[in-house]
């Protein structure tokens, strides 16, 4: 059964803070002109079924928690592909007041694809590389999860307050 993982990896896509440029290019990869499905790659919406997480855009205080949740829901072995310069440094948005910075502050990343936005060919290359890493992880050649993120994101007080607010709303 595990053999199927590297022959047909399933991809879940999460848009963090991107300008859409990377997202539509990633979606274009899935469609007939570029067609990553010929590598057995399938795009799905549920992180619990996925092996590869594709992230676009940098993280901010609000979506870091969501990103971590999505990441934690993916079963091991898993790989993370980060598309675009935004994911590696914040890109053009570096310096904005609401940008925490690169994605690997929050989750470990295996492959970075540079470009603003990267060309679909580069994205496909990134995913194929990630599938190679996934295969090695499955065989136990490399550690199942990539190196630890640089720092763990902790929800700020504001967000924990918001969480309790949601809970209260539900109980009403």
């Amino acid at each position: 059964m595990f053999n199927a993982v590297s022959k047909s990896p399933w991809v879940v896509h999460f848009n963090c803070n991107s300008c859409n440029g990377c997202d539509i290019e990633f979606l274009a990869c899935l469609t007939p002109h570029y067609d990553v499905e010929r590598f057995g790659i399938l795009h799905i919406g549920n992180p619990k079924h996925a092996d590869v997480l594709v992230v676009t855009g940098s993280v901010n205080n609000r979506n870091a928690r969501v990103l971590q949740n999505v990441y934690n829901q993916i079963p091991d072995p898993k790989v993370v592909v980060a598309m675009g310069v935004c994911t590696s440094s914040g890109g053009v948005f570096a310096g904005c007041y609401n940008i925490l910075g690169n994605v690997d502050l929050v989750i470990p990343v295996d492959v970075f694809v540079p470009g603003c936005p990267p060309r679909p060919e580069a994205m496909i290359d990134g995913i194929v590389k990630a599938v190679g890493i996934l295969e090695r992880k499955r065989k136990g050649e490399i550690f199942p999860t990539a190196p630890k993120p640089l720092c763990k994101f902790k929800p700020s007080e504001e967000q924990s307050a918001e969480k309790t607010a949601i809970k209260e709303e539900k109980t009403v």
């Binding site: 290019e25 274009a28 469609t31 969501v66």
Partner: protein
């Protein structure tokens, strides 16, 4: 009285390409009301634009949204130009129209494709996106980039397009039109598609007006509002009509987009037929000073820029009101009273662009 439940829709959801959360208050399967929760893609771009100089801003502004990027930088440039009293040469104006319309076509194809995906018609989604690739190729051939073109600059455009390339664009349009003729009857006449779209998410003309709907959402409810008829760039010399439908449901919104696709084909053909020769930008030495409001029609509706300069390199204030921001109150009106299963289709039918809205 039945107890209401709250179901979160998003931020990560299969039909949503972008993160927005809607908290749906449900009574059994029926939506009572929807509460939007935003901020997942907020970056603070307006503030950053005040820290970069006004020439760099042109390229920063493109990154408000990757889908209608060119029209964003166009609106910004038009604002700065009117502040500095510049008039771009006619060839630049025509090139701006051509790129705007190419953007509109790719955006509408993308939106209808995602709509097809949201009700599970994956084949149609793939076919529409295949057609879209021809337009992406045309943009790449004329500018060198697929998504963020970077060709609009203050005073005109950065790149000229040769006659052969314009001819090849016309050639592309022939292919696109042929493929549209094949796919659109499927989208508009198919029984099961109609079942999902007709009568779903109805927006009254009065409600649309009161809540300030713009773009295809407003036009599908019978409001004839299209900024292109005001004649910015070279639209004044071309034949542009607002495409109006009166039903106000998801089907009408889709139909408006389909008709606009054909309209854009027509506009590009007119523009390529009439394009004058000459220079493509005007030099300038002044700095922006004063206040200005600049508007343009994006694929999703009207975008409004408020710019304030103070005679230095940096702008004092830049404010953007994007079409999706205006369309969120109407979509909340559509959602009230609909079935839970229709929420995805209704949200996608206004073609939301969250990264525009939150910047």
């Amino acid at each position: 009285m039945a107890k209401n439940t709250i179901i979160p829709f998003g931020p990560q959801h299969p039909v949503l390409p972008e993160p927005i959360q809607l908290r749906l208050v449900l009574d059994e399967e029926r939506v009572v009301s929807a509460i939007p929760v935003v901020g997942y893609v907020h970056r603070g771009l307006e503030k950053l634009a005040e820290q970069k100089d006004f020439l760099q801003d042109t390229y920063l502004i493109e990154r408000i949204c990757g889908i209608c990027s060119f029209i964003h930088s166009l609106t910004y440039s038009m604002g700065i130009e009117s502040m500095m009293g510049l008039t771009p040469p006619p060839r630049a104006q025509y090139l701006r129209v051509i790129w705007s319309e190419l953007h509109r076509m790719h955006s509408h194809l993308l939106a209808t494709g995602l709509l097809a995906d949201s009700f599970g018609f994956e084949n149609l989604f793939m076919q529409l996106w295949r057609t879209r690739e021809h337009i992406m190729d045309a943009m790449e051939a004329t500018t060198g980039a697929r998504v963020l073109l970077g060709t609009c600059c203050i005073g005109g455009v950065r790149k000229d397009v040769s006659e052969e390339l314009l001819k090849s664009v016309l050639q592309t349009l022939v292919t696109v039109e042929k493929e549209l003729d094949e796919h659109m009857p499927v989208l508009l006449n198919d029984y099961s598609v109609k079942q999902r779209l007709c009568g779903v998410g109805i927006l009254d003309k009065q409600v649309a007006y009161e809540r300030g709907a713009v773009g295809p959402t407003a036009r599908a409810s019978g409001i004839a509002m299209d900024l292109r008829t005001q004649g910015y760039a070279a639209y004044g010399e071309l034949d542009v009509e607002p495409m109006v439908e009166t039903d106000g449901d998801c089907y009408a919104r889709t139909k408006v987009r389909v008709r606009e696709l054909y309209q854009s084909l027509n506009i590009i053909r007119q523009a390529i037929g009439k394009i004058p020769s000459g220079s493509i930008n005007v030099p300038f030495k002044t700095k922006p000073d004063g206040e200005v409001i600049s508007r343009a029609e994006q694929p999703r509706g009207e975008v409004l820029y408020y710019l304030k300069g103070n005679g230095t390199d940096m702008l004092e204030r830049l404010r953007v009101r994007t079409p999706t921001f205006a369309n969120i109150p109407p979509v909340l009106a559509m959602l009230a009273g609909c079935e839970l299963a229709d929420v995805g289709v209704i949200v996608i039918s206004i073609d939301p662009c969250i990264s525009c809205t939150e910047r």
